[in-house]
Symmetry: C2
Subunit: 140 residues, 2 copies
């Protein structure tokens, strides 16, 4: 299950490098840095950071991968099959490292309202919560 070879791409064909990077992220149980991905893919012929960054660029354009700005790391998108979607938010556990992707239409709308009122033309939205996930908060 969750095979990296599934078609998430609206018909856009992924290259070998892109499939490998996406697969690494889908297999991981949390965010991976570009250099962690590089290390995971050494055996597949990866040699340089740029190979990873280039694949990540394309995967992000396709909406299959998100960057977690406050971690300088990347996660595969939680949405099924490359289905189009708007802005998403992340909750990042500082204890276990887990990341939960969610989306709140009300939050997105209110930020859009602010932008409209200011004449700001938004291209991308970053929403990240840092803290303790339910499990780790109970354990603490």
């Amino acid at each position: 299950m969750n095979s990296p070879t599934h078609d998430h791409t609206h018909g856009h064909k992924l290259t070998r490098n892109q499939v490998l990077v996406l697969g690494a992220l889908e297999t991981a149980d949390g965010p991976l840095s570009a250099y962690s991905i590089l290390d995971l893919l050494r055996d597949d012929g990866f040699r340089a950071p740029l190979q990873v960054y280039r694949a990540l660029d394309t995967l992000r354009e396709l909406g299959l991968v998100h960057r977690i700005e406050s971690l300088n790391a990347f996660v595969s998108c939680a949405h099924p099959a490359g289905q189009a979607h708007g802005a998403v938010a992340f909750a990042i556990c500082e204890n276990c490292g887990g990341v939960t992707e969610f989306s709140r239409q009300d939050v997105v709308k209110q930020l859009a309202d602010w932008a409209r009122s200011e004449g700001f033309e938004a291209h991308a939205t970053v929403i990240e919560l840092r803290g303790l996930c339910g499990t780790c908060a109970k354990a603490a």
Copy 2:
């Protein structure tokens, strides 16, 4: 005006290095990277990145400075005189580099609602909009 020696600190006395770093950020018309700050303060005796990062850490704890996660850079807080405040958001212009700080209580509340519903214990919130500010959007 806007002198770095004003008291923004609830009685907490800033050190010389902290005053210099805060002053650099208040004088700048946009976000500065830690290394840019270092370069600005060479003449004041700064030699190493750690001097900047240490001052930034304290200033951030005091709420006088914010980090822009998606830029790996820092801005002085727009609030007057170190007055306590909750989560803030930033709108970042990708053309002119300007950053507008704002805060939306409704957005903060809805994120808090989500967190409560999930048992997530939030410690920090990052909200950043990337795009074009009103001025640059019109010019485009």
